[in-house]
């Protein structure tokens, strides 16, 4: 078995005095998908933000390609090859679709993804490339957010609730692109409320409950009853 790309090792995270995550551990190899599920406030987004460097933690709590990156600032983490698709998309409203994508690619990390490849993945974006990004529909905005993250050619892509607020058919369209992304050898961590969607797309799953890992397993093998127990702590 190959070395893991990402090792999260007993990670703690704090908002001021409030501790949001307690000793969370996980690993992921190239081309694998990990789903992180759990109730609201369980610490799912916090976990992604901490891996992406938006929240500080112990340096060796996050190891990426063998190097400790837990204490690095976000702009240095993305240069190592970790990109985050933030919750709520967070596109730059004063930039056009294409400018949003170009900002995502401004580090010019070499790799499979380019403006042309992103437009090939989401053809509708090519048609609307000069439109202000926030004038697009919700699903199209989510495509821009994913494309923007891919533009940095990450070896690890973190997706925070990419189905949030979208119609089921649109969610299906967006999830249809996951195999093409991991097909490039990219590992993915996806935070999801939509458990069915998450389990279908992922190889492994962890369930967080009040900042602690309540369940770890292979996505295809965990039962609904296990998840219900881990979700609600019953």
């Amino acid at each position: 078995m190959s070395e893991p790309v990402l090792v999260v090792d007993r990670l703690d995270a704090f908002y001021g005095d409030f501790q949001a995550l307690f000793g969370v551990s996980a690993e992921l190899r190239a081309g694998e998908v990990l789903a992180v599920i759990g109730a609201n406030g369980a610490g799912k987004s916090t976990l992604l933000k901490t891996i992406a460097g938006l929240m500080p933690t112990r340096a060796d709590a996050v190891r990426f390609d063998g190097a400790p990156i837990g204490a690095l600032a976000a702009h240095k983490v993305v240069a190592r090859g970790i990109a985050l698709v933030p919750e709520g998309r967070r596109l730059f409203p004063s930039l056009s679709v294409e400018e949003n994508l170009l900002v995502g690619g401004q580090l010019r990390r070499p790799g499979a993804w380019s403006l042309a490849r992103v437009y090939e993945l989401f053809p509708v974006l090519a048609e609307r490339r000069h439109t202000p990004a926030t004038a697009l529909s919700g699903g199209q905005q989510q495509m821009v957010a994913i494309g923007r993250a891919l533009m940095s050619n990450p070896s690890l892509l973190l997706c925070d609730e990419i189905s949030l607020g979208l119609a089921p058919t649109i969610v299906r369209d967006i999830y249809a692109c996951v195999p093409r992304i991991v097909g490039e050898g990219t590992a993915m961590v996806m935070v999801e409320q939509d458990i069915g969607q998450a389990l279908a797309a992922a190889k492994f799953v962890i369930c967080l409950q009040e900042g602690r890992v309540a369940l770890t397993g292979v996505a295809a093998q965990v039962s609904r009853a296990d998840i219900a127990a881990a979700y609600f702590g019953v």
Binding site: L54, A74, V78, R90, F92, S94, Q106, R148, S152
Partner: protein, 289 residues
């Protein structure tokens, strides 16, 4: 009648200078929401840097721009990384207080070194040259050059913001700082580059000011006010709006002075209040802002 046409044209030319005071201010506010109270004093500092440069190198004020611009840009980069970055956060008060303190330090530092004597940069024969327009109107060559420089500087800033990767980063950081970091943008570096560009514009404005009129260490705050008025009248969203705001302020001042010399500054302020009353978000604000 011709007198009034002449007055308006002089006002337009003066407005170019005010627009340059304003452009640097507006860039900084746009990128990092920092209101730089020391902006006017930095303009005066640039004028003194130009004075020292012309005296030390024995060159004219216009060639001295080549020296003053990089010096001020370096000062801007250092100032931002060494001081102002530490004041930025959710609270808008610390940058106000720190730049206010900086304003006092610059004024007193200049007073200590250069005394309170009025100074002026001599540009030579070009100062009294003029361009004759049909109808007997004469425009000073120097004010015309200054106006053209102002338009060129604002056009260059516009190109920088909307046609370059750096400008894209400026706008991204302005929209959403945490997400800009996720794109690999080092916000602190971007802020410092914005301040460097702001002070490069200040450098040009400072030299033009020093050629146009007398200056002493105490005139900074009034330049800051003129800059603010031009920015707000134009609307924060648009650099060309800033130019229009500067021109409106310049025209109001020269027309006020035409009625009575004591009315020059007051007329500018009155027009500013009028614009605020009628269009509070500025003449060129986009709808919904």
């Amino acid at each position: 009648m011709l007198d009034w046409v002449n007055t308006i044209l002089q006002g337009v030319l003066l407005g170019g200078l005010y627009a340059m005071f304003a452009a640097g201010l507006s860039l900084i506010f746009g990128v990092m929401r920092l209101v730089n109270i020391a902006h006017g004093d930095l303009i005066v500092l640039a004028a003194y840097v130009a004075l020292v440069t012309t005296e030390a190198l024995g060159i004219g004020p216009l060639p001295a721009i080549v020296v003053v611009v990089p010096v001020m840009a370096l000062i801007g980069y250092g100032l931002q990384r060494g001081l102002l970055n530490f004041t930025l956060g959710d609270d808008i008060l610390p940058p106000l207080l720190v730049t206010f303190g900086l304003s006092i330090i610059i004024q007193n530092g200049l007073l200590e070194i250069f005394t309170a004597d009025s100074r002026k940069l001599q540009a030579g024969p070009i100062e009294i040259a003029s361009i004759h327009l049909p109808g007997g109107i004469a425009l000073g060559t120097l004010p015309v050059i200054q106006f053209l420089v102002a338009v060129a500087v604002i056009g260059a800033l516009q190109l920088l913001l909307y046609r370059t990767a750096l400008g894209r980063s400026f706008r991204a950081v302005s929209d959403d700082q945490p997400v800009a970091q996720l794109m690999g943008i080092n916000n602190r570096h971007i802020f410092a580059l914005a301040m460097a560009i702001s002070l490069a514009v200040v450098a040009v404005a400072g030299v033009l000011l020093a050629v146009r009129s007398n200056f002493d260490p105490a005139i900074g705050p009034a330049r800051l006010i003129f800059g603010f008025e031009a920015v707000i009248m134009g609307g924060l969203a648009s650099l060309w709006g800033t130019l229009a705001g500067g021109i409106l302020l310049g025209v109001a001042q020269t027309m006020g002075a035409r009625i009575d010399p004591g009315w020059q500054i007051l007329a500018g302020h009155l027009v500013f209040l009028l614009v605020l009353a009628i269009r509070p978000s500025g003449m060129f604000a986009r709808p919904g802002q």
